[in-house]
């Protein structure tokens, strides 16, 4: 039973990181209908900036710089893509982001090389014990940051003008534009937010117990974001949160009980979220909270 609760708490804390990653993925899709395959590389960029500057700037300074750089680059990407966004269908735009991902990931991986950078975070490898449940300190910090950010984000979406603009342009872009909402600004801010979220998530995604910052971090992050975002529903922020938590818990449980799940093969933890995603999609083709397409044939 103790193992169960340990896994549950660890899974939820991992899920918080996954939810942050998925949230950035979903915001861009919601605002612009672009599936952002460059998201993993953006996260890698954030991690790389932090990893290469934390010795001179300190952790906090490096983290801020990483968030800023990633957000700026995300906006630039968004602006370049948006020039074309009205003409192209989502599939083409997705492949465009794949092209960007290849460029960015190749260059960053080359720069990182075979070194294993660390984020230099203050928590290190310390572990917190709570009622017999052991959780790494980084995960506690991740959970706190995630809860604060997500609550803040939801409040902003609910109460501010920007939030209303975002929701309106996601609902009916043409009507929103007629109401005086500048779609390009909403989109650019969504990209900026996504970049900032990616860099924030990178801080925790690459911290203990993960080995550190290597070239494969981007792919791993994307591999976590996709099932989380899809099973929650691509255009639902609530879905991203639920999906992120579900992915974190699923992966942790599959890894924790791998002796009992040995018949499914080793390393089932990485695949389990995708299996869950496919099962959810079979029942609900637009994910748990995604808006359904009305056209029925």
């Amino acid at each position: 039973m103790n193992q169960f609760f340990t896994l549950l708490v660890n899974g939820l804390s991992l899920g918080c990181i996954d939810a942050l990653i998925a949230l950035g993925f979903v915001i861009v899709f919601k605002a612009t209908r672009v599936v952002n395959f460059a998201y993993g590389s953006l996260l890698l960029l954030g991690a790389y900036v932090v990893g290469s500057t934390h010795e001179s700037l300190g952790f906090a300074g490096a983290a801020l710089l990483g968030v800023a750089v990633t957000a700026v680059l995300a906006v630039l990407l968004g602006v370049v893509l948006l020039r074309r966004a009205r003409l192209a269908d989502p599939g083409t735009l997705a492949i465009l982001t794949l092209g960007i991902d290849i460029l960015l990931a190749t260059e960053l991986t080359r720069r990182i090389g075979t070194d294993l950078l660390t984020t230099g975070d203050p928590w290190g490898a310390d572990v917190v014990s709570l009622a017999g449940i052991q959780v790494p300190q980084t995960r506690v910090a991740a959970a706190v940051v995630a809860v604060v950010l997500v609550t803040g984000f939801l409040a902003v979406v609910k109460f501010t003008d920007w939030g209303i603009a975002l929701r309106a342009s996601a609902e009916k872009p043409a009507t929103a534009a007629l109401m005086g909402i500048r779609l390009s600004r909403v989109a650019a801010s969504a990209w900026a937010l996504a970049g900032a979220l990616a860099a924030t998530a990178a801080l925790f995604f690459t911290a203990f117990p993960s080995p550190g910052i290597s070239g494969t971090v981007g792919q791993a992050a994307l591999a976590a974001a996709v099932p989380a975002a899809v099973l929650g529903g691509l255009d639902s922020t609530t879905g991203a949160l639920v999906g992120g938590l579900a992915v974190g818990v699923t992966a942790t449980f599959a890894a924790g009980y791998q002796d009992q799940l040995a018949f499914l093969g080793r390393g089932f933890g990485t695949v389990a979220p995708y299996v869950v995603m496919l099962l959810v999609l079979l029942a609900r083709p637009s994910g748990l909270f995604g808006s359904k397409e009305i056209a029925r044939v």
Binding site: T92, L96, G99, I102, T106, R110, G267
Partner: protein, 372 residues
């Protein structure tokens, strides 16, 4: 075929191309033959994928999985049980057909999901196949050999073996080894694949698939069974991927899970984008470009001064190839949305305008390039 003057010229050109391809093993060294074989496998896979993505409008990021089913299916069906891996030991030709069928069945099994999902959801769901596939390849060691992979039995047709010996074959003083022999097998498979795809597009099913892409509702009103056609497109496309897998397995000789990851899916998509969605010739051209670029850059990295040697700082051949290839995707999507196919159409359209013909682009094989 608007202008009669150009028609024989085109036939002559095509014949010359075929003759060149047939004679190629006489003069090419093994590096080029190997590259050519990989390119042929990629052409088959890309043509299959463009039938699905370009013609039917169903995005798939999961084709690496079906290629793997073909490759490992062949290795399993044609291989014999020795050591850690098991095999059925069928004749290779039968195993090839079996592997293609197996990949088709895998596609059909996925079609309940494929038929229900639309657009980007389908693409992302099919991504799940790649990860699931990697997991299976790593763990089903009896069939796949696990991380270290397994050997693919050399191809053999009756008494003719596609290896260096048995029977020994020397043509114009060139010893015909495994690569030279496989070259012809690859050409044959590519020809069959392209021919079948063209026929499929020209006929009733092709029109139905285009209808499904352009508007599911409209297609349904016209009497197209949308779900069935989507499933069929997925099945045919996966069978193509399976055939590509078989050829890939033969060209590699030994297959490992790493070759069938997400990157292969991206490569296949990049091929059909660069070539022009929905165009068969474009898919083939894109496949050759994507496959040959890294291999050629790598091969000539000594001679290219701007490339760093392994171990040096700077941009190496592999990285340069990936950067070029990423840039090519961006350039095509941003500036040439119809891909390479659009380029040739533009040229031929200009020519026909020049010659004052009225038929316009009547010889266009892909009426859908305008879509991207």
């Amino acid at each position: 075929m608007s202008d009669r003057t150009k028609f024989p010229l085109r036939i002559v050109g095509a014949l010359a191309g075929v003759l060149l391809l047939l004679a190629a093993p006489l003069s090419l060294e093994s590096f080029w033959l190997q590259t050519g074989l990989f390119a042929m496998a990629a052409v088959i896979g890309a043509v299959g994928l463009t039938l699905l993505v370009g013609v039917t409008g169903q995005l798939s990021l999961g084709h690496a999985f079906f290629v793997a089913v073909g490759a490992y299916g062949y290795a399993f069906l044609a291989g014999s049980s020795d050591g850690d891996v098991v095999g059925v030991g069928l004749p290779p030709a039968v195993a090839t057909v079996g592997a293609v069928v197996l990949a088709g069945v895998a596609g059909a099994l996925f079609s309940p999901i494929a038929g229900r999902l639309r657009g980007i959801y389908l693409g992302l769901a099919s991504l799940g196949l790649v990860f699931a596939g990697q997991h299976i390849l790593q763990n089903a060691t009896a069939v796949t050999g696990g991380f270290n992979g397994r050997d693919a039995a050399p191809f053999r047709l009756f008494d003719f073996s596609f290896t260096a010996t048995d029977p020994e074959l020397i043509i114009f003083n060139v010893p015909y080894g495994a690569l030279e022999r496989l070259w012809y097998l690859g050409l044959l498979l590519v020809a069959v694949a392209v021919w079948y795809a063209r026929n499929l597009l020209r006929g009733r099913p092709g029109r139905a698939l285009v209808g499904v892409r352009d508007s599911e509702a409209a297609a349904a009103v016209m009497g197209v069974n949308v779900r069935r056609y989507k499933a069929a497109a997925f099945t045919v496309s996966s069978a193509y991927a399976g055939l590509a897998g078989v050829l890939l397995a033969l060209a590699f000789g030994r297959i490992v899970p790493e070759s069938f990851g997400f990157l292969l899916s991206v490569d296949l998509l990049a091929m059909i984008i660069i070539g022009g969605l929905g165009s068969i010739g474009g898919a083939a051209a894109g496949a050759v470009f994507v496959i040959a670029l890294p291999l050629v850059l790598n091969h000539y990295s000594d001679a290219l001064p701007f490339l760093a040697q392994p171990g040096e700082a700077g941009i190496g051949a592999a990285e340069a190839a990936r950067l070029l290839y990423g840039a090519a995707i961006l350039a095509v999507l941003l500036y040439l949305p119809g891909g390479l196919a659009q380029l040739t159409h533009r040229i031929s359209a200009k020519e026909s305008r020049h010659e004052q013909t009225t038929a316009g682009n009547g010889d266009s094989t892909s009426p859908h390039v305008d879509r991207v």
